[in-house]
Symmetry: C3
Subunit: 360 residues, 3 copies
């Protein structure tokens, strides 16, 4: 963040920038002989951020993004177009610590993992395989929706609650009765609290965090089920039914300074999904741990788990190393993902990623 | 606006942000039983603004926007995509008070209402039903066009004139001879003048304004008329003819401080359109008044009128209340629109809207 | 650029804005009688820029753009859509003067001409007819690609080298083996060196530059060749073969102060292309010279040359005049292009352009 551009004590703004540039090599049966890995460089995230205040009780934040700009598709898929989007955008009516209202486009308050800032991740990226939150607004502004969230800290910071009402599925054909979406997360803080908009994932020993949370996300008539009649030519796809989306989860987070400048960051979560993104039903989970050995070196291990009701289980193991030039402000991260995803041929595929990040 | 980021006296810039978040409930025969209202939350406007100066006679302004991001369509219509756009973008060659040139993408100088800033509206929104200005450049940058505008104040600020030449219809098939668009507005200031780029609509008693204006907007071959031949399958739509677009209007504006912190804001306009946006021909009008009762409460009444040459008349009545946390910088507005629009079934439909605004 | 928004000596950012608004009249057999010129005003470039530093060795730059917003197509072509894009976006690991790494979306280091900043051109625009660099990432972010560039100054600034590896063609069907793109430029500085990200094209006598360069740009399987089978209805277009793209060039640049506030700016380049943008094979060249007569007036002559292996030669002559209100910060440029391009009827067409620029 820049210094405050202040008109007076309660009227100010700050500018920020996040850049993440990635090189990715992925096993995908590419090549004229089908035995190659695909590789390419792209802009993983590029965000112009601004936060500020217009009144002692009214703050705001927004950022734009252009996710995966220039990325190559998996082999066999067409190269995607890129799009500059409004990512976060909200105004926060900050009444008392126990009650604040965020209004606008907001990260859904469903789990600790998805309510973190992308500027301060432990791994090279989120545990994307475990998060199946459907996105109905702008597909590229993943995990965000338009609505209002009430939040606060209760019982001397012991309880952190965040609950909201959102538009969710706004396609008239799928959700004709305009059912709203309800999302919430309640967290027990056994050490320090986090009163800010986003949760921390890797704070280099600056805070001690021991938190346990539980969350839900639901909307009636959110998920379409289509059938395709191939007996006619060309084939005809029709909306066969509407499914109610339901999800709940439990999560835990640990940030533990060890003295000597060393620190442990660890988190885990378990998810249950019904008719989630891409009509996914089943369970997912992840667990991750990072060890800040020196101010510059931080190895990270991550495990992601998918167990769909229909289809194959997938366990992904990430071996990662962060080289922190200057914390989250300038770093290089490398990540080898064993069984990164299931390919078009039904086999587990690995991937290697190298990322340069800067944050102002 | 931020403080000036100044290199020297004549070289500086200021950053600003406008956010408007809306919840809308609209009567539209939604639902599986056709008896529901639709409802949803969306980003009405989200603008990053910058204005500045690069020379004592050369200033600039621009803002981006993403109008109606995440909005639901009326029942039966598909959900719209959202798009981040360049909204205003111009350089102002500020020679003398009687002659300045704005070059770039500009709000058309046609009427007082459409030349106002969206940051400082009296109502929850513009009187949208009355303004049928065609937009040929970027559809989402409504009421703007690319070209040049001359403007100035004459006769000791008595006369405010703004006239411009714009590209307008740039589709070669519709406007093959590349006729240009001509637009202008002349205003008599009976009280204070407004030398800035935009007019004021609700200034909370900070200025006394009594102004009367007349405007025009015209372009030959601007409006296409299509015919659809349904005797073949699939049906074929062809350009049948080109129509010359003509519009003129008269408007009046009143800003009157009443002492005691109270103030009246009122305006009205009458429009005559030929082959305007959506090939609208006919008359429209609006009148509105707001009464600043206390620094925080301001009831607003608005009337909008549409009388097309072909089709149904529509009179819309808005009952609105503004809760001004801090003027235009932070406020909540509520608006009930009786006969908001004509629905797909030909009946008048109501709408309820609630909006949170912040402006930095 | 704004003043530095500085947190500390090595952590700061600066904001900038570039606006270029153009009126263009072009000979294109427009009109109902086929004897008209097309004319229109549009936004040539509009960039929000930010550069900064997050560590003494880590700097960044980005800008957005919306090229040719509101421009009319040539007669017979549909009006283009406009799109806000991420233009440049990179982080610079600035190790020593002899070795720096730019990572992200970068102007390809192929030739002096294409590695210049659009903020500081000598002519009204680049010598666009001569530059056939294929753009595979975002088409509107022309001449840029995603990857990494190493650069530095060697032998006491005598040698300026820039070499990079980029993603290039990322369409799996065209480049199934994911060959990477290799691009480089080596330059001999016979006067002052240019250690910055971009080269200078017209510096009003502030530097003396005498440089000679040579560059290359290449990628295997970059260029698709399609065939269309019209014996079936509707006709079927298939990928017939993949071509390796190869290009090389030589260039020279002269910036010479003459005393008395006068200065000469001149440059020239010769290009050899195989299977470049639009499968162009052949040679191109350009030469240009400008003479700063007074601080405000600068006539410019430009010659562009195209000699495709297949198709017609084209020699374009630009007669230009710059009126510099304040150098690159505020100016008006006029340019008459004799034989601007070859029209749909195979004839050479002229064009007249007038541009207002501001730069903060």
């Amino acid at each position: 963040w820049s210094p405050k551009l202040a008109v007076d004590e309660n009227t100010w703004a700050q500018v920020g920038v996040l850049g993440q540039f990635q090189f990715e090599a992925k096993q995908d049966n590419a090549g004229t002989n089908g035995d190659q890995w695909s590789n390419g460089a792209f802009v993983r995230r590029f965000r112009l951020l601004m936060q500020g205040s217009v009144h002692k009780n009214v703050q705001f934040l927004f950022d734009t993004d252009i996710p995966n700009a220039g990325k190559s598709a998996d082999f066999g898929q067409p190269a995607p177009q890129e799009k500059l989007i409004l990512n976060d955008a909200f105004v926060d009516f900050n009444l008392v610590p126990a009650l604040k209202f965020e209004v606008g486009r907001i990260l859904l308050p469903f789990s600790y993992e998805n309510k973190q800032s992308a500027t301060a991740l432990l791994g090279l990226d989120y545990n994307l395989n475990a998060i199946k939150i459907p996105t109905f607004s702008e597909p590229l502004a993943a995990w965000r929706d338009n609505g209002v969230e009430a939040r606060g800290l209760l019982l001397n910071n012991l309880i952190d609650y965040r609950v909201g009402v959102f538009t969710g599925q706004r396609d008239n054909a799928i959700n004709p009765d305009d059912h709203l979406r309800y999302t919430g997360h309640v967290m027990l803080n056994l050490a320090e609290a986090q009163p800010g908009w986003f949760y921390s994932n890797s704070n280099f020993g600056k805070q001690t965090i021991r938190s346990l949370g539980v969350g839900f996300d639901m909307q009636d008539d959110a998920t379409p089920v289509y059938t395709t009649d191939t007996s006619v030519s060309p084939s005809v796809t029709t909306l066969a039914s509407r499914q109610d989306y339901r999800a709940w989860e439990v999560d835990g987070q640990l940030e533990q300074p060890l003295g000597n400048g060393q620190a442990i960051s660890a988190s885990a979560a378990w998810f249950d999904w019904e008719h989630a993104a891409g009509d996914f039903s089943g369970n997912t989970a992840f667990a991750q741990a990072g060890y800040l050995v020196t101010p510059h070196w931080q190895p990270v291990l991550r495990w992601e788990h998918q167990d769909p009701d229909a289809g194959r289980k997938l366990d992904t193991y990430h071996l990662g190393m962060n080289y922190l030039i200057k914390g989250h402000n300038a770093n290089l991260k490398v990540d080898y993902a064993l069984h990164d995803r299931i390919g078009a041929d039904g086999e587990e595929k690995d991937a290697f990623r190298l990322q340069a990040q800067f944050l102002y």
